[in-house]
Amino acid sequence: MTPRKLLVTGLLLASFVVHGQNKQLLYDFIEIPQAAMINPGVITDFQWYSGVPTLSGISFQAGSSGLSVNDIFANDGLDINDKIRNRAIAGMTPRDELSGTFQIEILNFGFRGRNPDNFYTGGMYLEGDAIGYWFRDYAILAFEGNADRLNQRFDLGHLKTRGEMVNVFHFGVNKKVDSDLTVGLRGKLYSSILDFNSTRNKGFFITREGQNNILESTVNADMQSRSSGFNEVRNAVDDGNVGGVLAKRAFFGGNLGLGLDLGFTYQLGEQTVLTGSLLDLGFIYHSNDVFNYTLNGDATVEGVEIILPDAVSNPDTDFWQDLVDEIEGFIPFESNRKNYIAFRPTKLYASLRYNFGEPLDSRANCECGLSASTNSIRAKYTNSLGGQLYMINRPRGPQAALTAFYQRRFGNFMALKTTYTIDKFSFTNLGLGLNLQAGPVNIYAMADNLLSYRNIADSRYASFQLGLNIISWGKK
């Protein structure tokens, strides 16, 4: 297999292995410390916890909303070119996407402050995120061309993509305001390793009947791509020093940014809980190793045009070169190294949970629970049922997902959460999360889109998350 085939196959495989960015299984799974990463205002009863470095939180997600590997590579006897034409070019829209993300926690810790109502968290994680929308009109031009498509307008805005790799340092505080309300705030410092985006493209290409000649070709373009970090990494590949350069850029040697996470948990009643969080409200300022490209302008050509007798007054005139120069003058392809700001893909979570069944004894180091006189920390119940909303800001506007969940706790040593999620990728997404607490050792694992395992090649996404922590509740 050639490297190109490996790359294409890998990308397609990735599209069914994992998906999107929604962590609906982890959200509000309060037994797991990493739940605080997606709601800084989550209820915590730990005295302290520490993630096992690099193993405390691993998640890998990706998705393809319009196509699966099976759609193209199934051994079904059909011509692959017909499958691409029918299922990709004709079957997908410019709103379909191929997206993916990964997150690896390098360090994650949390501890309760002198004021027991305050819980602090901090750490560092590496995150990669990319999305590319289906560039349908470019695909039509590449697969079929513009012939016999008179007056069809090819939309250059179909090129819409962004991606980044960033190391995130974070520190946050979770504060129990009163017995009903817990709020959280987390500050983030982003150290960008790589970034690219080309999301504000406009314009078209069209072939029409010519005014003079047979055909008239028009390009109207307002396009740009911006990137940072790639040149340095490319040079590092040549020098055999990729690791060193990536580490340098991950630790403040690249481009820096600031961000904020907010969240809350509010008890609507003894057994009803409302939560919400807003994540990655931030930006990165790119000024290091920046390369931008632009294509702006408008040109209409009808081939080489010669109007006699004036045109031959200078016999040395090179009409072809004049035409090329004219087009390049009207639509210059230029590069620059201007600094730019890239906003992070902001995410919103919200949930409404109803707890019922047997109350559980709290492990928290407090006088709490149903029978406690102060009742500063609410009791957990064996069952929880509810709904969640997830939204993420994407280049083509917000994407949303709705989740219904049921959580079952087996004492304080095990908890299961099942979810049913609908979003643009699937209406049949069932997920399952498991949390195990063996003494101080906490292990969790979660998988998504379980029905797709019937034929994993036909899945448009799946995801997994797992992690390992040490937790103390401070009780002797």
């Binding site: 590997v69 081939g303 006699l308 395992y453």
Partner: protein
């Protein structure tokens, strides 16, 4: 602790593998993907007024080489498979004219010749499609095309004038070519 994690991972992966299926996939189909779009655009437009025909000292109204490197550039020549060049000639002059279009390579050698004999106005419109590739002339002509020589010969008198306003002879042309991108 690592032992616990290994055991946990082993169980999780084993469960996932045992409970999942994959229908037969053939990734070798990648080699069968054909990216052979067809592109079309105008090539050359020449317009000459009737006065140019009448004022020519001989019956050769004009003959001129025009540089045309669009097809000989590597990005096109290495990929073109076949195609068609379409000519449309409109004559609103009062003259019967012959137009000769010659494709020349970089050394000035003639690769291809096309002759058009066109009647005077008002019935003088002519369209011709010339195929290149497997079903037509050699595609090497297109790959090596570097310039186009156009000659116009007046086959009639040089003093009559057309009764049509703004009488002229017009040569239009376009190319439609299939290229192999993969």
């Amino acid at each position: 602790m690592k032992g616990i994690l290994k055991y946990f991972l082993f169980c999780s992966v084993s469960f996932a593998l045992l409970s999942s299926c994959v229908e037969d996939q053939d990734f070798g189909q990648f080699d069968q993907i054909e990216l052979t779009p067809t592109y079309e655009a105008s090539m050359l437009y020449i317009e000459a007024p009737e006065t140019l025909v009448n004022d020519a000292p001989t019956n050769i109204v004009f003959t001129q080489n025009f540089n045309f490197d669009a097809f000989s550039s590597d990005v096109f020549a290495d990929r073109v498979l076949d195609g068609t060049v379409t000519y449309i000639i409109e004559n609103t002059t009062s003259k019967e004219l012959s137009i000769i279009v010659e494709f020349l390579d970089a050394e000035g050698n003639v690769l291809d010749i096309e002759n058009f004999d066109i009647d005077p106005a008002p019935t003088a419109t002519l369209q011709r499609d010339i195929a290149y590739g497997d079903t037509g002339r050699s595609i090497e002509i297109i790959k090596n095309l570097s310039s186009i020589r156009v000659s116009t010969v007046n086959e009639s008198d040089n003093n009559s004038t057309s009764n049509q306003a703004d009488a002229k002879i017009i040569l239009k042309s376009s190319g439609k070519f299939r290229v192999q991108l993969k």
